[in-house]
């Protein structure tokens, strides 16, 4: 796996990117944190945040020209946040005595600072803190420069004097009445290790580097109005700070230019979408400063800009508290481990690979693609936990075995001649279809593995409908498309599966595949693009519904689109057309069509992390008060299991008398196998008139209480496993016995899993008490 490319993808994620206000603040105050503290009423913590980032915060907090406000995204939803007014309030309510800082020994060098305006003072204090000896040269008889022009309503003279006194108290040497001209400047350059020029004015033009603030190549650096060319207070302070950083780099003999792109103001990649935000006006202060309540109310208006679009839509990302940036870092770490535990395995197997994150992300970051690649890499490197997907792959193997697998051409005209009599031939579309048979298979009905498992009785009806409505012979092909192998990262099994399907396609002279399952559609599009496909549901729209049963009482449904249909707008619309033509009203979910969510089955999460799958179900079924309509049998079964009334489109197309399709119970894993086999036997017998052996009669009669049946589902244990254990136990007597209650306990290893069954005999019946399994193998003596 290309881990550099992986990290590049993760770095595009803007989750950790700063909001535009902080990005455009020349000193990068942590504005969201600042405002969050005010909202909580913690003015002291907010004050500390100002103290941390703003030089001379007690001054600037009162007179800042707040460039941040003009970038605040709330301007499109009622008005920008009054950040500057909030700062004044915090200074009023949250002020604390500064912590006593022990002065650092001044041994790193001597620096001259020319001009004691805001930029010079900032440079001086910053460098003094870092251990440089500072000598401040001021033209007038007092510190502060043009700060004095700001004394007025917001800034009291007393406050200014207090702050300026602190400069003296630090022990910075100050020389008043010093006018520095070109000659003196040059002398200072020779006498000191570096010079900062913040004089506001200079008689000649200076070439000042905009990033390093260096003048020429010498030890002279400039800032303040000389650089900003404006009266901005905050840019002045910022330039002093940045020039001081340059001086430090210069004297430490490190690069003056490395990694300084975000030192000043910058454009943040974080673009916040406020289109759905209700407009709320700015709070206007009633006194000189916001009251505490007013400040909290204004702070509440702050959107706390952060890109959470993918997270908001995904139960998995929220459960693991991961942004794509963090997730990719975890995967990168996991891929690089040579010796050690891969803690991220379970998480990686808990993504449904539904693609919603990519759909929501304006940068098109696709965790689906990342996870798919990661799983394939894990398999390649032999690091994929076997237990995650073993059961699902065995289920796929069952579907491809002779217990289900079937390929048949449409019954020939010759073989069907017994049906060609009146009235059948006039009124049965199916018989007419057989009568018009040509022997060339134009279409192959491929229902997939789950539809026959959940709706075994409808497969024949659907097949007959297709024979009667399609122009050309319709064959049938039962099997599994390989979606479980794809999700499990098993490209080896995928290759075998695809080869098998292709072989059938070639042998049948390349018919069009009619697919009922949207996951099959996704697999065919990905791996078999040469095969033309049609969706069964599109055909119902094209050729007409099988039963024209308009509903008697009006009903509103919400449609849950299968996640595999994300890019298939036509299919999504056709499902809606079917429902509406039957008289249903549709109330769309907010995450619908291309923004649909996964039910929890995707990515084999239902097998790898049942709890995660339950999370998807629980979230989805809460989204609508109406009954749901789905068109994937797994979505149907998962939602019904979660207690939600859910119709499958087949329930509407082929309603059953005296049955409420919306509460139809999910088949157990064992029933899925049985139903698939039943479909094969039924079709062979009733469509192709073949001699068919009924289901195995040599199975024991089992009595399984409901609690044990539930354990079978939770522990992925099949009836066939139990039968095998019992057969082995009864014949070999290799089992344990409890004389107190007459129970037996037996085990059998079947394909690397050891199944245990506790049971009792009651005449011919086997009463199953408990079932469990483990993968650890016991070395038999």
């Amino acid at each position: 796996m290309n881990l550099d490319k992986l990290l590049e993808t993760g770095d595009r994620c803007i989750f950790l990117e700063p909001p535009t206000c902080t990005a455009h603040c020349p000193v990068h105050l942590e504005i969201i944190a600042f405002i969050s503290e005010i909202e909580k009423g913690d003015f002291q913590k907010a004050y500390k945040l100002m103290e941390k980032k703003i030089p001379f915060h007690r001054i600037i907090g009162r007179i800042c020209d707040h460039p941040c406000e003009s970038f605040c995204v709330r301007q499109e939803a009622g008005g920008t946040i009054s950040i500057s007014e909030l700062e004044k309030a915090v200074l009023e309510y949250g002020a604390a005595k500064p912590k006593k800082v022990w002065p650092v020994p001044k041994k790193k060098g001597k620096i001259a600072v020319v001009g004691s305006g805001l930029s010079g003072l900032t440079a001086a204090v910053d460098l003094d803190k870092k251990g440089y000896e500072i000598v401040l040269y001021e033209k007038s008889e007092r510190l502060g420069g043009r700060l004095w022009e700001h004394v007025g309503e917001s800034l009291q003279e007393e406050t200014l004097l207090e702050e300026l006194k602190q400069v003296k108290d630090k022990g910075i040497h100050i020389q008043f009445g010093q006018t520095i001209d070109e000659q003196r400047l040059s002398d200072l350059g020779a006498e000191y290790d570096a010079v900062y020029l913040g004089s506001g004015e200079w008689h000649q033009h200076l070439e000042i580097d905009p990033i390093t603030f260096q003048v020429g190549q010498a030890n002279l650096f400039a800032g303040g109005k000389l650089v900003t060319q404006s009266d901005s207070v905050i840019f002045s302070a910022s330039s002093g700070r940045r020039a001081a950083l340059s001086i430090e780099r210069f004297l430490s003999k490190v690069s003056l230019t490395d990694s300084r792109e975000r030192e000043g103001v910058f454009e943040t990649p974080l673009k916040q979408d406020v289109s759905a935000t209700t407009a709320l006006p700015r709070l206007e202060k009633r006194g000189a400063v916001y009251s505490r309540e007013e400040a909290a109310a204004e702070a509440k208006r702050c959107i706390k800009c952060q890109c959470r679009k993918c997270i908001d839509g995904c139960n998995h990302l929220r459960k693991y508290d991961m942004s794509p940036y963090a997730y990719i870092r975890q995967i990168n770490h996991s891929e690089r481990i040579i010796l050690g535990t891969h803690y991220a395995n379970k998480m990686i197997n808990s993504c449904t690979e539904c693609g919603l994150c990519e759909e929501e992300c304006f940068l098109d970051i696709s965790m689906k693609d990342v996870i798919q690649e990661t799983r394939e890499s894990m398999v390649e490197r032999n690091k994929m936990p076997v237990s995650a997907h073993d059961f699902a792959l065995k289920d796929m193997a069952f579907s491809n075995s002779e217990q289900f697998s079937l390929v048949r051409r449409q019954p020939s005209k010759e073989a069907s001649k017994d049906l060609f009599y009146y009235p059948l031939i006039s009124f049965s579309d199916y018989v007419k279809g057989l009568y018009n048979g040509t022997g060339k298979t134009e279409f192959l009905f491929y229902p997939g593995c789950q539809l026959p498992a959940s709706y075994p009785d409808d497969v024949k009806s659907i097949y007959e409908y297709l024979v009667g409505h399609m122009k050309g012979d319709v064959g049938i092909y039962l099997g599994c498309c390989g979606a479980p192998a794809d999700w499990a990262g098993r490209q080896d099994l995928m290759g075998e599966n695809i080869a098998a399907i292709k072989k059938v396609w070639e042998e049948m002279e390349r018919p069009v595949f009619i697919l009922a399952c949207s996951s099959c559609i996704r697999i065919f599009e990905k791996y078999l693009p040469e095969i033309k496909i049609q969706s069964l549901w599109d055909i119902y729209i094209e050729k007409g519904l099988p039963n024209k049963n308009w509903i008697k009482t009006p009903q509103t449904l919400s449609i849950h689109d299968a996640c595999a249909t994300r890019e298939n707008r036509e299919l999504q619309e056709n499902i809606r057309k079917i429902a509406e033509s039957l008289g249903y009203t549709i109330d769309e979910l907010s995450y619908s069509k291309e923004k649909t969510k996964c039910c929890g089955y995707g990515g084999l999460v239902y097998y790898a992390n049942r709890e995660q799958a339950d999370g998807f179900v629980a979230e989805r079924i809460e989204e609508s008060p109406h009954d749901l309509l789905v068109y994937c049998t797994m979505c149907k079964d998962l939602f019904v299991s979660g207690g939600k009334r859910t119709y499958h489109i087949l329930d509407l197309l082929y309603p059953k008398e005296n049955e409420d399709g919306a509460v139809r119970k999910m088949p157990t894993f064992s029933e899925r196998h049985q139903n698939r086999s039943r479909v094969k036997r039924l079709l062979r017998k009733e469509i192709w008139n073949e001699e068919v052996d009924e289901a195995a009669a040599d199975d024991y009669e089992l009595v399984i209480p409901e609690t044990v049946q539930k354990e079978m589902e939770n522990r992925y244990i099949l009836l066939e496993n139990i039968q095998a254990v019992l057969k082995n136990a009864e014949s070999s007597r290799k089992r344990f016995y409890n004389p107190q209650n007459g129970d037996y306990l037996a085990c059998l290893k079947i394909e690397h899993v050891t199944f245990w069954v506790q049971y009792a005999r009651e005449a011919e019946k086997f009463l199953i008490r408990n079932v469990y399994s483990h993968r650890m193998e016991i070395v038999e003596e």
Partner: protein, 68 residues
């Protein structure tokens, strides 16, 4: 991984009609090989694995080995 003989005294080996004894048994999964004391029949050495062991410590070790 361990079992206490007293907890499972009710069970005997059906084939040999013998009470179970604790003795060292080899188990393995993936690259991990262990020797643990488990209840088994002293005659035919059929090993007794109860539910809480299978779904508890064994599962824990299996998952740990799968994540290595």
């Amino acid at each position: 991984m361990y079992q206490k003989k007293e907890d499972y005294q009710a069970w005997i080996c059906d084939k040999c009609q013998q009470e179970l004894e604790l003795s060292k048994v080899k188990v393995h999964y993936l690259e991990g090989e262990f020797e643990v004391e488990l209840l088994n029949c002293p005659t035919c050495h059929q090993v007794f694995v109860n539910e809480s062991l299978a779904l508890g410590k064994m599962l824990e070790v299996e998952q740990g080995l799968e994540d290595k």
